[in-house]
Protein backbone atom coordinates (compact mmCIF):
# COMPACT_ATOMS: atom_id res chain seq x y z
CA UNK A 1 0.00 0.00 0.00
CA UNK A 2 1.13 3.49 -0.73
CA UNK A 3 1.32 5.54 2.39
CA UNK A 4 -1.34 8.22 2.23
CA UNK A 5 -1.02 11.66 3.68
CA UNK A 6 -3.15 13.12 6.43
CA UNK A 7 -5.08 15.11 3.86
CA UNK A 8 -5.96 12.04 1.87
CA UNK A 9 -6.98 9.91 4.81
CA UNK A 10 -9.36 12.61 5.96
CA UNK A 11 -10.60 13.74 2.58
CA UNK A 12 -14.09 12.67 3.47
CA UNK A 13 -14.19 15.26 6.25
CA UNK A 14 -11.97 17.92 4.68
CA UNK A 15 -13.82 18.20 1.36
CA UNK A 16 -17.19 19.21 2.80
CA UNK A 17 -15.68 21.19 5.68
CA UNK A 18 -15.60 24.68 4.08
CA UNK A 19 -19.21 24.39 2.94
CA UNK A 20 -20.20 23.04 6.34
CA UNK A 21 -18.52 25.90 8.18
CA UNK A 22 -20.22 28.37 5.89
CA UNK A 23 -23.68 26.87 6.41
CA UNK A 24 -23.17 26.75 10.18
CA UNK A 25 -21.98 30.35 10.33
CA UNK A 26 -24.60 31.83 8.03
CA UNK A 27 -27.57 29.59 8.60
CA UNK A 28 -27.43 27.51 11.78
CA UNK A 29 -26.03 30.27 13.93
CA UNK A 30 -28.54 32.90 12.71
CA UNK A 31 -31.47 30.54 13.30
CA UNK A 32 -30.26 29.89 16.86
CA UNK A 33 -29.80 33.62 17.36
CA UNK A 34 -33.37 34.21 16.17
CA UNK A 35 -34.55 31.56 18.60
CA UNK A 36 -32.67 33.36 21.39
CA UNK A 37 -34.13 36.77 20.50
CA UNK A 38 -37.63 35.29 20.39
CA UNK A 39 -37.41 34.81 24.18
CA UNK A 40 -36.57 38.44 24.70
CA UNK A 41 -38.13 41.85 24.48
CA UNK A 42 -36.03 43.91 22.09
CA UNK A 43 -37.07 46.82 19.94
CA UNK A 44 -34.16 48.21 17.98
CA UNK A 45 -35.57 51.74 17.67
CA UNK A 46 -36.18 52.14 21.41
CA UNK A 47 -32.44 52.14 22.14
CA UNK A 48 -33.01 49.90 25.15
CA UNK A 49 -30.85 46.79 25.34
CA UNK A 50 -32.21 43.29 24.97
CA UNK A 51 -34.21 42.13 28.01
CA UNK A 52 -34.94 38.50 28.66
CA UNK A 53 -38.71 38.07 28.65
CA UNK A 54 -39.48 34.36 28.56
CA UNK A 55 -42.46 33.47 26.44
CA UNK A 56 -44.00 36.94 26.40
CA UNK A 57 -43.23 37.59 22.72
CA UNK A 58 -44.97 34.35 21.81
CA UNK A 59 -47.95 35.26 23.99
CA UNK A 60 -48.26 38.67 22.40
CA UNK A 61 -48.01 37.26 18.89
CA UNK A 62 -50.55 34.52 19.57
CA UNK A 63 -53.09 37.04 20.81
CA UNK A 64 -52.47 39.36 17.86
CA UNK A 65 -55.32 39.09 15.30
CA UNK A 66 -52.95 40.19 12.51
CA UNK A 67 -50.76 37.16 13.17
CA UNK A 68 -53.64 34.70 13.29
CA UNK A 69 -55.09 36.13 10.09
CA UNK A 70 -51.69 35.89 8.42
CA UNK A 71 -51.43 32.21 9.38
CA UNK A 72 -54.82 31.53 7.83
CA UNK A 73 -53.95 33.48 4.68
CA UNK A 74 -50.62 31.70 4.30
CA UNK A 75 -52.39 28.33 4.33
CA UNK A 76 -55.17 29.52 2.06
CA UNK A 77 -52.68 30.93 -0.45
CA UNK A 78 -50.43 27.85 -0.37
CA UNK A 79 -53.12 25.20 -0.58
CA UNK A 80 -55.16 27.04 -3.20
CA UNK A 81 -52.26 27.94 -5.46
CA UNK A 82 -50.42 24.62 -5.22
CA UNK A 83 -53.56 22.52 -5.79
CA UNK A 84 -54.36 24.49 -8.92
CA UNK A 85 -50.74 24.21 -10.09
CA UNK A 86 -50.70 20.45 -9.51
CA UNK A 87 -53.93 19.86 -11.46
CA UNK A 88 -53.01 22.20 -14.31
CA UNK A 89 -49.39 21.05 -14.42
CA UNK A 90 -50.35 17.38 -14.55
CA UNK A 91 -52.90 18.08 -17.29
CA UNK A 92 -50.39 20.01 -19.39
CA UNK A 93 -47.74 17.32 -18.93
CA UNK A 94 -50.09 14.53 -20.00
CA UNK A 95 -51.14 16.53 -23.07
CA UNK A 96 -47.57 17.28 -24.09
CA UNK A 97 -46.21 13.80 -23.37
CA UNK A 98 -45.86 12.76 -27.02
CA UNK A 99 -43.55 13.51 -29.88
CA UNK A 100 -44.54 16.46 -32.05
CA UNK A 101 -42.86 19.17 -34.03
CA UNK A 102 -42.02 22.24 -31.98
CA UNK A 103 -41.80 20.41 -28.66
CA UNK A 104 -38.49 22.05 -27.76
CA UNK A 105 -39.60 25.64 -28.44
CA UNK A 106 -42.69 24.83 -26.40
CA UNK A 107 -40.53 23.68 -23.49
CA UNK A 108 -38.63 26.96 -23.77
CA UNK A 109 -41.91 28.86 -23.46
CA UNK A 110 -42.74 26.80 -20.36
CA UNK A 111 -39.39 27.81 -18.87
CA UNK A 112 -39.95 31.53 -19.33
CA UNK A 113 -42.22 32.13 -16.31
CA UNK A 114 -39.84 30.10 -14.14
CA UNK A 115 -36.81 32.25 -14.83
CA UNK A 116 -38.63 35.60 -14.93
CA UNK A 117 -37.76 37.91 -12.03
CA UNK A 118 -40.69 37.63 -9.57
CA UNK A 119 -40.68 41.33 -8.69
CA UNK A 120 -40.93 42.26 -12.36
CA UNK A 121 -43.63 39.63 -12.90
CA UNK A 122 -45.60 41.15 -10.04
CA UNK A 123 -45.32 44.61 -11.57
CA UNK A 124 -46.44 43.37 -15.01
CA UNK A 125 -49.48 41.76 -13.40
CA UNK A 126 -50.18 44.99 -11.55
CA UNK A 127 -50.55 46.65 -14.93
CA UNK A 128 -52.87 43.82 -16.01
CA UNK A 129 -54.90 44.18 -12.84
CA UNK A 130 -55.10 47.97 -12.80
CA UNK A 131 -58.81 48.74 -12.28
CA UNK A 132 -58.91 51.68 -14.70
CA UNK A 133 -56.37 50.89 -17.42
CA UNK A 134 -55.80 47.17 -16.86
CA UNK A 135 -56.16 44.61 -19.60
CA UNK A 136 -58.14 42.15 -17.48
CA UNK A 137 -60.97 44.57 -16.74
CA UNK A 138 -61.07 45.29 -20.46
CA UNK A 139 -61.54 41.57 -21.13
CA UNK A 140 -64.30 41.44 -18.50
CA UNK A 141 -66.04 44.41 -20.14
CA UNK A 142 -65.89 42.65 -23.54
CA UNK A 143 -67.98 39.86 -22.08
CA UNK A 144 -70.27 42.29 -20.32
CA UNK A 145 -69.07 41.14 -16.91
CA UNK A 146 -68.80 43.45 -13.88
CA UNK A 147 -65.38 45.04 -13.32
CA UNK A 148 -63.17 43.70 -10.54
CA UNK A 149 -60.89 45.60 -8.21
CA UNK A 150 -58.34 42.73 -8.40
CA UNK A 151 -55.47 43.52 -6.03
CA UNK A 152 -56.99 46.83 -4.89
CA UNK A 153 -60.01 45.12 -3.33
CA UNK A 154 -59.59 43.22 -0.06
CA UNK A 155 -62.02 40.50 -1.17
CA UNK A 156 -60.28 39.69 -4.46
CA UNK A 157 -56.66 40.43 -3.56
CA UNK A 158 -55.65 36.93 -2.43
CA UNK A 159 -57.12 35.03 -5.41
CA UNK A 160 -55.50 37.63 -7.71
CA UNK A 161 -52.11 37.03 -6.10
CA UNK A 162 -52.65 33.27 -6.27
CA UNK A 163 -53.30 33.61 -9.98
CA UNK A 164 -49.85 35.15 -10.42
CA UNK A 165 -48.26 32.30 -8.48
CA UNK A 166 -50.21 29.80 -10.58
CA UNK A 167 -49.10 31.49 -13.79
CA UNK A 168 -45.48 31.48 -12.72
CA UNK A 169 -45.17 27.98 -11.24
CA UNK A 170 -47.58 25.68 -13.10
CA UNK A 171 -44.90 25.13 -15.78
CA UNK A 172 -42.53 23.85 -13.09
CA UNK A 173 -44.94 21.05 -12.14
CA UNK A 174 -45.61 20.39 -15.83
CA UNK A 175 -41.89 20.06 -16.62
CA UNK A 176 -41.21 17.85 -13.59
CA UNK A 177 -44.11 15.53 -14.46
CA UNK A 178 -43.03 15.49 -18.12
CA UNK A 179 -39.54 14.40 -17.10
CA UNK A 180 -41.09 11.76 -14.85
CA UNK A 181 -43.34 10.48 -17.63
CA UNK A 182 -40.40 10.24 -20.00
CA UNK A 183 -38.63 7.94 -17.54
CA UNK A 184 -41.49 5.43 -17.18
CA UNK A 185 -40.94 1.98 -18.59
CA UNK A 186 -43.15 1.08 -21.55
CA UNK A 187 -43.78 -2.50 -20.45
CA UNK A 188 -47.02 -2.03 -18.47
CA UNK A 189 -48.42 0.00 -21.35
CA UNK A 190 -47.79 -2.72 -23.86
CA UNK A 191 -49.45 -5.41 -21.77
CA UNK A 192 -52.36 -3.06 -21.05
CA UNK A 193 -52.82 -2.50 -24.76
CA UNK A 194 -52.81 -6.24 -25.35
CA UNK A 195 -55.54 -6.54 -22.72
CA UNK A 196 -57.53 -3.89 -24.57
CA UNK A 197 -57.51 -1.17 -21.88
CA UNK A 198 -59.01 2.21 -22.78
CA UNK A 199 -56.82 5.37 -22.61
CA UNK A 200 -58.74 6.54 -19.54
CA UNK A 201 -58.15 3.22 -17.81
CA UNK A 202 -54.48 3.33 -18.76
CA UNK A 203 -54.12 6.81 -17.28
CA UNK A 204 -55.78 6.06 -13.95
CA UNK A 205 -54.53 2.49 -13.50
CA UNK A 206 -50.98 2.77 -14.83
CA UNK A 207 -49.73 6.31 -15.44
CA UNK A 208 -51.09 8.00 -12.34
CA UNK A 209 -49.88 5.40 -9.80
CA UNK A 210 -46.42 5.31 -11.36
CA UNK A 211 -46.08 9.08 -11.48
CA UNK A 212 -47.47 9.77 -7.98
CA UNK A 213 -44.10 9.94 -6.16
CA UNK A 214 -42.86 12.48 -8.71
CA UNK A 215 -46.00 14.58 -8.40
CA UNK A 216 -45.79 14.49 -4.60
CA UNK A 217 -42.18 15.66 -4.61
CA UNK A 218 -43.04 18.45 -7.01
CA UNK A 219 -45.88 19.44 -4.68
CA UNK A 220 -43.61 19.49 -1.60
CA UNK A 221 -41.02 21.67 -3.27
CA UNK A 222 -43.69 23.99 -4.61
CA UNK A 223 -45.66 24.16 -1.36
CA UNK A 224 -42.57 24.97 0.67
CA UNK A 225 -41.83 27.83 -1.72
CA UNK A 226 -45.45 28.97 -1.72
CA UNK A 227 -45.46 29.12 2.10
CA UNK A 228 -42.56 31.56 1.79
CA UNK A 229 -43.96 33.66 -1.08
CA UNK A 230 -42.65 37.13 -0.58
CA UNK A 231 -41.47 38.95 -3.70
CA UNK A 232 -44.75 38.93 -5.60
CA UNK A 233 -46.91 39.91 -2.65
CA UNK A 234 -44.54 42.61 -1.45
CA UNK A 235 -44.14 44.10 -4.93
CA UNK A 236 -47.82 43.98 -5.83
CA UNK A 237 -49.63 44.95 -2.64
CA UNK A 238 -47.13 45.28 0.20
CA UNK A 239 -49.61 43.22 2.24
CA UNK A 240 -52.53 45.55 1.53
CA UNK A 241 -55.10 46.87 1.02
CA UNK A 242 -55.14 47.24 4.80
CA UNK A 243 -53.72 43.95 6.05
CA UNK A 244 -55.75 41.86 3.62
CA UNK A 245 -52.87 40.15 1.81
CA UNK A 246 -50.43 39.92 4.70
CA UNK A 247 -48.95 36.41 4.83
CA UNK A 248 -46.50 35.20 7.50
CA UNK A 249 -43.44 36.15 5.49
CA UNK A 250 -44.71 39.69 4.85
CA UNK A 251 -45.73 40.08 8.50
CA UNK A 252 -42.30 38.85 9.67
CA UNK A 253 -40.64 41.35 7.33
CA UNK A 254 -42.74 44.23 8.68
CA UNK A 255 -42.12 43.31 12.31
CA UNK A 256 -38.38 43.03 11.61
CA UNK A 257 -37.58 45.88 9.28
CA UNK A 258 -40.45 48.35 9.58
CA UNK A 259 -41.30 48.18 13.29
CA UNK A 260 -37.90 46.78 14.37
CA UNK A 261 -39.77 44.82 17.03
CA UNK A 262 -37.19 42.05 17.01
CA UNK A 263 -38.59 40.03 19.90
CA UNK A 264 -41.97 39.52 18.32
CA UNK A 265 -40.51 39.34 14.80
CA UNK A 266 -38.33 36.44 15.97
CA UNK A 267 -41.25 34.56 17.43
CA UNK A 268 -43.05 34.87 14.07
CA UNK A 269 -39.89 33.65 12.34
CA UNK A 270 -39.55 30.67 14.68
CA UNK A 271 -43.17 29.80 13.96
CA UNK A 272 -42.61 30.07 10.19
CA UNK A 273 -39.40 28.06 10.48
CA UNK A 274 -41.11 25.17 12.25
CA UNK A 275 -44.07 25.33 9.92
CA UNK A 276 -41.80 24.88 6.90
CA UNK A 277 -39.78 22.18 8.68
CA UNK A 278 -42.84 20.18 9.77
CA UNK A 279 -44.39 20.53 6.37
CA UNK A 280 -41.30 19.29 4.55
CA UNK A 281 -40.83 16.36 6.94
CA UNK A 282 -44.50 15.40 6.78
CA UNK A 283 -44.67 15.28 3.04
CA UNK A 284 -41.31 13.53 2.75
CA UNK A 285 -42.75 10.75 4.92
CA UNK A 286 -45.88 10.66 2.81
CA UNK A 287 -43.75 10.30 -0.28
CA UNK A 288 -41.82 7.36 1.16
CA UNK A 289 -45.07 5.49 1.66
CA UNK A 290 -45.85 5.75 -2.03
CA UNK A 291 -42.46 4.47 -3.06
CA UNK A 292 -42.12 0.76 -3.47
Amino acid sequence: MIKSSFFERNLKYLFPLPALIFVIALMVFPVLYTLFISFSDWTLTSGRPLVFAGLSSYMKILSEPRFLDAVGRTFYFTIGAVLAEAVLGLTIAVILNREFRGKNPLKFILLLPLVATPVAVGIVFNLFYDPTIGFLNYVLSLFGLPQSGWVTDSTSVLPSLMLVDIWQWTPMIALIVLAGLAGLSSEPYESAKVDGATPVQIFFRITLPMITPTILTAIILRAVDALKTYDIIYAMTGGGPGYSSETLNILAYKYSFEYFNLGQASSILVFLFFLVLLFSLGVMKLRKRFEM
Partner: protein, 271 residues
Protein backbone atom coordinates in the same frame (compact mmCIF):
# COMPACT_ATOMS: atom_id res chain seq x y z
CA UNK B 1 -49.96 5.04 -32.77
CA UNK B 2 -52.19 6.19 -35.60
CA UNK B 3 -53.45 9.72 -35.11
CA UNK B 4 -57.01 10.51 -36.00
CA UNK B 5 -57.91 13.56 -38.05
CA UNK B 6 -59.82 15.01 -35.10
CA UNK B 7 -56.69 14.73 -32.97
CA UNK B 8 -54.52 16.39 -35.59
CA UNK B 9 -56.80 19.42 -35.65
CA UNK B 10 -57.51 19.57 -31.94
CA UNK B 11 -53.96 19.09 -30.68
CA UNK B 12 -52.48 22.35 -32.07
CA UNK B 13 -55.47 24.25 -30.68
CA UNK B 14 -54.93 22.79 -27.22
CA UNK B 15 -51.22 23.62 -27.41
CA UNK B 16 -52.08 27.20 -28.34
CA UNK B 17 -54.41 27.36 -25.33
CA UNK B 18 -51.40 26.47 -23.18
CA UNK B 19 -48.94 28.81 -24.88
CA UNK B 20 -51.00 31.98 -25.13
CA UNK B 21 -51.57 32.52 -21.39
CA UNK B 22 -47.88 31.73 -20.74
CA UNK B 23 -46.63 34.23 -23.29
CA UNK B 24 -49.18 36.99 -23.08
CA UNK B 25 -47.78 38.72 -19.97
CA UNK B 26 -44.37 38.87 -21.66
CA UNK B 27 -45.85 40.27 -24.86
CA UNK B 28 -47.83 42.87 -22.95
CA UNK B 29 -44.75 43.88 -20.98
CA UNK B 30 -42.72 44.20 -24.17
CA UNK B 31 -45.43 46.22 -25.93
CA UNK B 32 -45.94 48.52 -22.96
CA UNK B 33 -42.20 49.14 -22.75
CA UNK B 34 -42.37 50.67 -26.23
CA UNK B 35 -45.53 52.71 -25.59
CA UNK B 36 -45.84 56.31 -24.50
CA UNK B 37 -47.65 56.94 -21.21
CA UNK B 38 -50.65 58.21 -23.22
CA UNK B 39 -50.85 54.95 -25.17
CA UNK B 40 -50.54 52.90 -22.01
CA UNK B 41 -53.37 54.57 -20.13
CA UNK B 42 -55.69 54.77 -23.13
CA UNK B 43 -58.96 52.81 -22.96
CA UNK B 44 -59.59 50.37 -24.56
CA UNK B 45 -56.01 49.02 -24.40
CA UNK B 46 -54.10 49.59 -27.64
CA UNK B 47 -52.60 46.76 -29.62
CA UNK B 48 -51.44 48.98 -32.47
CA UNK B 49 -49.33 52.02 -31.64
CA UNK B 50 -46.21 53.77 -32.87
CA UNK B 51 -43.29 52.41 -30.81
CA UNK B 52 -41.02 54.74 -28.88
CA UNK B 53 -37.62 54.24 -27.27
CA UNK B 54 -38.20 56.97 -24.72
CA UNK B 55 -38.80 54.51 -21.82
CA UNK B 56 -35.52 52.70 -22.35
CA UNK B 57 -33.74 56.00 -22.74
CA UNK B 58 -35.19 57.14 -19.41
CA UNK B 59 -34.31 53.92 -17.62
CA UNK B 60 -30.70 53.87 -18.75
CA UNK B 61 -29.97 57.58 -18.61
CA UNK B 62 -32.01 59.21 -15.90
CA UNK B 63 -31.91 56.30 -13.50
CA UNK B 64 -28.70 54.80 -12.26
CA UNK B 65 -29.61 51.58 -13.99
CA UNK B 66 -26.15 50.71 -15.26
CA UNK B 67 -24.79 50.87 -11.71
CA UNK B 68 -27.50 48.49 -10.50
CA UNK B 69 -26.83 46.20 -13.45
CA UNK B 70 -23.16 46.13 -12.51
CA UNK B 71 -24.05 45.43 -8.87
CA UNK B 72 -26.30 42.53 -9.82
CA UNK B 73 -23.51 41.11 -11.97
CA UNK B 74 -20.86 41.43 -9.24
CA UNK B 75 -23.10 39.85 -6.62
CA UNK B 76 -24.28 37.05 -8.93
CA UNK B 77 -20.83 36.16 -10.27
CA UNK B 78 -19.25 36.46 -6.81
CA UNK B 79 -21.86 34.29 -5.12
CA UNK B 80 -21.78 31.62 -7.84
CA UNK B 81 -17.96 31.46 -7.88
CA UNK B 82 -17.68 31.04 -4.12
CA UNK B 83 -20.51 28.51 -4.18
CA UNK B 84 -18.61 26.40 -6.71
CA UNK B 85 -15.48 26.64 -4.61
CA UNK B 86 -17.31 25.51 -1.47
CA UNK B 87 -19.91 23.33 -3.09
CA UNK B 88 -18.01 21.16 -5.59
CA UNK B 89 -15.80 19.37 -3.04
CA UNK B 90 -18.76 19.02 -0.67
CA UNK B 91 -20.98 17.58 -3.41
CA UNK B 92 -18.23 15.20 -4.45
CA UNK B 93 -17.77 14.00 -0.92
CA UNK B 94 -21.55 13.51 -0.49
CA UNK B 95 -21.67 11.48 -3.69
CA UNK B 96 -18.60 9.32 -3.00
CA UNK B 97 -18.97 8.70 0.71
CA UNK B 98 -22.80 8.70 0.82
CA UNK B 99 -22.95 11.42 3.45
CA UNK B 100 -26.72 11.43 3.86
CA UNK B 101 -26.78 13.82 6.82
CA UNK B 102 -24.83 16.45 4.92
CA UNK B 103 -27.13 16.31 1.96
CA UNK B 104 -30.17 16.65 4.22
CA UNK B 105 -28.57 19.71 5.77
CA UNK B 106 -28.09 21.27 2.36
CA UNK B 107 -31.69 20.44 1.48
CA UNK B 108 -32.83 22.18 4.66
CA UNK B 109 -30.80 25.23 3.63
CA UNK B 110 -32.67 25.19 0.34
CA UNK B 111 -36.08 24.93 2.01
CA UNK B 112 -35.75 27.37 4.92
CA UNK B 113 -37.32 30.80 4.59
CA UNK B 114 -34.57 33.32 3.82
CA UNK B 115 -36.07 35.82 6.20
CA UNK B 116 -35.24 33.63 9.20
CA UNK B 117 -31.54 34.30 8.60
CA UNK B 118 -31.95 37.82 7.32
CA UNK B 119 -32.81 39.46 10.62
CA UNK B 120 -29.72 38.16 12.47
CA UNK B 121 -27.57 39.04 9.46
CA UNK B 122 -28.95 42.55 9.56
CA UNK B 123 -27.93 42.94 13.19
CA UNK B 124 -24.47 41.42 12.71
CA UNK B 125 -23.69 43.14 9.41
CA UNK B 126 -24.68 46.56 10.72
CA UNK B 127 -22.48 46.08 13.82
CA UNK B 128 -19.57 45.10 11.56
CA UNK B 129 -20.19 48.10 9.30
CA UNK B 130 -20.91 45.79 6.39
CA UNK B 131 -24.29 47.20 5.42
CA UNK B 132 -24.44 48.28 1.79
CA UNK B 133 -21.29 46.30 1.00
CA UNK B 134 -20.65 43.69 -1.67
CA UNK B 135 -19.28 41.38 1.04
CA UNK B 136 -22.60 41.19 2.87
CA UNK B 137 -24.58 40.77 -0.34
CA UNK B 138 -22.31 38.09 -1.77
CA UNK B 139 -22.31 36.20 1.54
CA UNK B 140 -26.09 36.23 1.62
CA UNK B 141 -26.40 35.20 -2.02
CA UNK B 142 -24.02 32.27 -1.48
CA UNK B 143 -26.75 30.84 0.71
CA UNK B 144 -29.00 30.94 -2.37
CA UNK B 145 -26.44 29.51 -4.78
CA UNK B 146 -24.64 26.93 -2.61
CA UNK B 147 -27.61 24.59 -2.03
CA UNK B 148 -28.33 24.65 -5.77
CA UNK B 149 -24.72 23.74 -6.59
CA UNK B 150 -24.50 20.95 -4.01
CA UNK B 151 -27.96 19.60 -4.83
CA UNK B 152 -27.28 19.35 -8.55
CA UNK B 153 -23.63 18.35 -8.39
CA UNK B 154 -23.97 15.59 -5.79
CA UNK B 155 -26.35 13.71 -8.06
CA UNK B 156 -24.19 14.54 -11.07
CA UNK B 157 -21.02 13.14 -9.46
CA UNK B 158 -22.86 9.90 -8.77
CA UNK B 159 -23.16 9.37 -12.51
CA UNK B 160 -19.40 9.79 -13.05
CA UNK B 161 -17.94 6.27 -13.12
CA UNK B 162 -15.64 5.53 -10.19
CA UNK B 163 -13.10 3.80 -12.44
CA UNK B 164 -12.13 7.19 -13.82
CA UNK B 165 -10.53 8.43 -10.65
CA UNK B 166 -9.43 4.96 -9.55
CA UNK B 167 -7.34 4.47 -12.68
CA UNK B 168 -5.77 7.88 -12.12
CA UNK B 169 -4.99 6.96 -8.53
CA UNK B 170 -3.38 3.69 -9.61
CA UNK B 171 -1.08 5.85 -11.71
CA UNK B 172 -0.06 7.58 -8.51
CA UNK B 173 -2.29 10.64 -8.48
CA UNK B 174 -3.79 11.66 -5.16
CA UNK B 175 -7.55 11.69 -4.78
CA UNK B 176 -7.71 15.47 -4.58
CA UNK B 177 -5.58 15.67 -7.69
CA UNK B 178 -7.85 13.21 -9.50
CA UNK B 179 -10.82 15.30 -8.42
CA UNK B 180 -9.43 18.50 -9.91
CA UNK B 181 -7.87 17.10 -13.07
CA UNK B 182 -10.28 14.30 -13.98
CA UNK B 183 -13.63 14.56 -12.22
CA UNK B 184 -14.16 18.31 -12.66
CA UNK B 185 -13.47 18.30 -16.43
CA UNK B 186 -15.84 15.33 -16.81
CA UNK B 187 -18.56 17.20 -14.95
CA UNK B 188 -18.80 20.30 -17.10
CA UNK B 189 -22.46 19.68 -18.08
CA UNK B 190 -23.45 19.45 -14.41
CA UNK B 191 -21.44 22.55 -13.57
CA UNK B 192 -23.08 24.46 -16.41
CA UNK B 193 -26.49 23.46 -15.05
CA UNK B 194 -25.73 24.55 -11.52
CA UNK B 195 -24.02 27.78 -12.57
CA UNK B 196 -26.91 28.81 -14.81
CA UNK B 197 -29.60 28.07 -12.26
CA UNK B 198 -27.84 29.52 -9.25
CA UNK B 199 -26.94 32.68 -11.17
CA UNK B 200 -30.57 33.14 -12.22
CA UNK B 201 -31.77 32.62 -8.63
CA UNK B 202 -29.27 35.16 -7.36
CA UNK B 203 -30.16 37.57 -10.17
CA UNK B 204 -33.86 37.39 -9.30
CA UNK B 205 -33.47 37.63 -5.52
CA UNK B 206 -35.27 40.56 -4.00
CA UNK B 207 -35.43 40.14 -0.24
CA UNK B 208 -31.75 39.94 0.70
CA UNK B 209 -30.74 42.97 -1.33
CA UNK B 210 -33.79 44.88 -0.16
CA UNK B 211 -32.52 44.72 3.42
CA UNK B 212 -28.74 44.55 3.04
CA UNK B 213 -28.12 47.04 0.22
CA UNK B 214 -28.63 50.76 -0.07
CA UNK B 215 -27.78 53.21 -2.83
CA UNK B 216 -24.20 52.01 -3.45
CA UNK B 217 -24.77 48.26 -3.89
CA UNK B 218 -28.45 48.23 -4.84
CA UNK B 219 -29.26 45.38 -7.22
CA UNK B 220 -31.68 45.40 -10.14
CA UNK B 221 -34.80 43.87 -8.54
CA UNK B 222 -34.80 46.64 -5.92
CA UNK B 223 -34.26 49.28 -8.60
CA UNK B 224 -37.22 47.92 -10.59
CA UNK B 225 -39.37 47.89 -7.47
CA UNK B 226 -38.38 51.45 -6.59
CA UNK B 227 -39.59 52.57 -10.00
CA UNK B 228 -43.07 51.51 -8.87
CA UNK B 229 -43.17 53.33 -5.60
CA UNK B 230 -43.07 56.85 -7.03
CA UNK B 231 -46.24 58.85 -6.57
CA UNK B 232 -47.49 58.47 -10.12
CA UNK B 233 -46.55 55.19 -11.76
CA UNK B 234 -44.56 55.69 -14.93
CA UNK B 235 -45.78 52.45 -16.47
CA UNK B 236 -43.64 52.70 -19.61
CA UNK B 237 -40.50 53.19 -17.55
CA UNK B 238 -41.36 50.31 -15.21
CA UNK B 239 -42.05 47.98 -18.12
CA UNK B 240 -38.77 48.95 -19.81
CA UNK B 241 -37.00 48.22 -16.53
CA UNK B 242 -38.82 44.88 -16.28
CA UNK B 243 -37.73 44.00 -19.81
CA UNK B 244 -34.15 44.97 -18.98
CA UNK B 245 -34.01 42.80 -15.86
CA UNK B 246 -35.60 39.73 -17.46
CA UNK B 247 -33.57 39.74 -20.67
CA UNK B 248 -30.28 38.31 -19.31
CA UNK B 249 -32.04 35.44 -17.51
CA UNK B 250 -34.09 34.66 -20.60
CA UNK B 251 -31.01 34.69 -22.85
CA UNK B 252 -29.20 32.35 -20.46
CA UNK B 253 -32.22 30.06 -20.50
CA UNK B 254 -32.30 30.12 -24.29
CA UNK B 255 -28.64 29.13 -24.55
CA UNK B 256 -28.73 26.50 -21.83
CA UNK B 257 -32.33 25.33 -22.21
CA UNK B 258 -31.53 21.63 -21.85
CA UNK B 259 -29.50 22.23 -18.70
CA UNK B 260 -32.07 24.49 -17.10
CA UNK B 261 -34.85 21.93 -17.63
CA UNK B 262 -32.66 19.22 -16.17
CA UNK B 263 -31.65 21.31 -13.18
CA UNK B 264 -35.19 22.34 -12.34
CA UNK B 265 -36.65 18.86 -12.64
CA UNK B 266 -33.92 16.46 -11.53
CA UNK B 267 -34.40 16.62 -7.78
CA UNK B 268 -38.06 15.73 -7.95
CA UNK B 269 -37.77 12.97 -10.51
CA UNK B 270 -34.83 11.18 -8.98
CA UNK B 271 -35.70 11.90 -5.38
Amino acid sequence: MKQSLRFRILFPIIVLLIIIPMLFPFLWMLMSAFKTQVDIISWPPKFIFSPTMVNFYKVFNEQNFLLYLKNSMIVGVGAVSFSLLLGLPAAYSIARFHQKKLSVMILVARLMPGISFLMPWYIVFSRLGLMDSYTALILSHILIALPVVVWIMSSYFETVPREMEESAMVDGATMQHAFVSIIIPLSVPGIVTSVTLSFIFSWNNFMFSQVLSMEKTRTLPIAVYNFMSYAEVDWGGVMAAAVAIMTPAIILTMIFQKYVVKGLTMGAVKG
